[in-house]
Amino acid sequence: MSEKFKVTLDELFVYNVAQTIQDRTTVFHGVSSPIPMTAMYFAKLTHAKDMVYFGGVASSVDPNPPFLPPTTNDWAMIQGRTAMVTVDKIFDLAQKEYTRLKGGQQ
């Protein structure tokens, strides 16, 4: 039996974008992309624990921010990260086809 509950359009977007992310893939979002960012973080906390997450232009690999800021390039997004990889190096990775760009720009 299905239970009815209300979701916002943003939540629906986040859920659907998150579903496109497979575990053990590499994902990146750009600047001003709170929905892709939230979706990627949601995926990492649920079904894609081993995805490699580039925290946008904040240059962070697998950040662990204290909260998700409305801007996606913020000091919050460099907290708890494994390494710093600047955005030009992320595009290099994309060129080498290591990165499957998901979500994208809002």
Binding site: P69, W75, I78
Partner: protein, 197 residues
């Protein structure tokens, strides 16, 4: 810009596939056959800015720069531009800079300007978070058209001030600055800044 950084005339790209859209958006890009592999590549001409203006956390009087993340392509700008003007939150001594370890050395930098709050209304961590209310004011004025933008924003904050100090008074002075610096007090204070209108 990477080509300008390397001092070469163009950069071959694999990720751009030559298409009609590309020709329309970037007529300066040229397709070419890679003489080594025979694969199709696209050449992007070097983009060398005449002047780069970059706001940083710390600089010394020689032009050594300490840049803290999250920065984007700032280092690339500084290496690619012919001249670089650095505005800095803090001017520190050479000894302090040696301890900090410069992100980019002095010979890339043309001049240094001491400009506290020089990134406002955007953020310059760890000093201050971005000024959401001011950006909302900017956005509203800019959305109202060129004349409105000049009257409501440029005349007030750009042409209507003669110094950085006067600008800082106009944006709300010490009270506003204290609020933007409050992000470091607690997570709650930090989050509050993002809902402050």
């Amino acid at each position: 810009m990477r080509a300008a950084e390397y001092g070469i005339p163009f950069m071959p790209m694999m990720s751009i596939k030559g298409s009609d859209e590309m020709n329309l958006l970037h007529p300066e890009f040229k397709p070419m056959i890679d003489p080594f592999t025979g694969k199709k590549i696209v050449l992007v001409p070097a983009l060398e800015p005449d002047v780069g203006i970059v706001h940083v956390q710390k600089a010394d009087i020689h032009g050594n720069v300490k840049l803290l993340p999250p920065y984007v392509a700032d280092v690339l700008f500084m290496r690619a531009a012919k001249k670089v003007i650095v505005t800095a939150e803090e001017i520190i001594s050479e000894e302090e800079m040696i301890k900090e370890g410069p992100t980019i050395p002095y010979y890339h930098i043309t001049t240094v300007v001491h400009a506290p709050y020089g990134a406002h209304p955007t953020a310059c961590y760890p000093y201050y978070a971005y000024d959401r209310a001011h950006i909302a004011e900017y956005f509203a004025a800019a959305s109202a058209g060129a004349e409105e933008f000049k009257a409501k924003y440029l005349d007030k904050y750009v042409f209507g001030v003669s110094s950085q100090e006067e600008y800082l008074q106009k944006i709300g002075g010490k009270e506003r600055m204290k609020r933007l610096e409050s992000w470091k007090e607690s997570r709650e204070k930090w989050m509050e800044l993002y809902t402050y209108e």
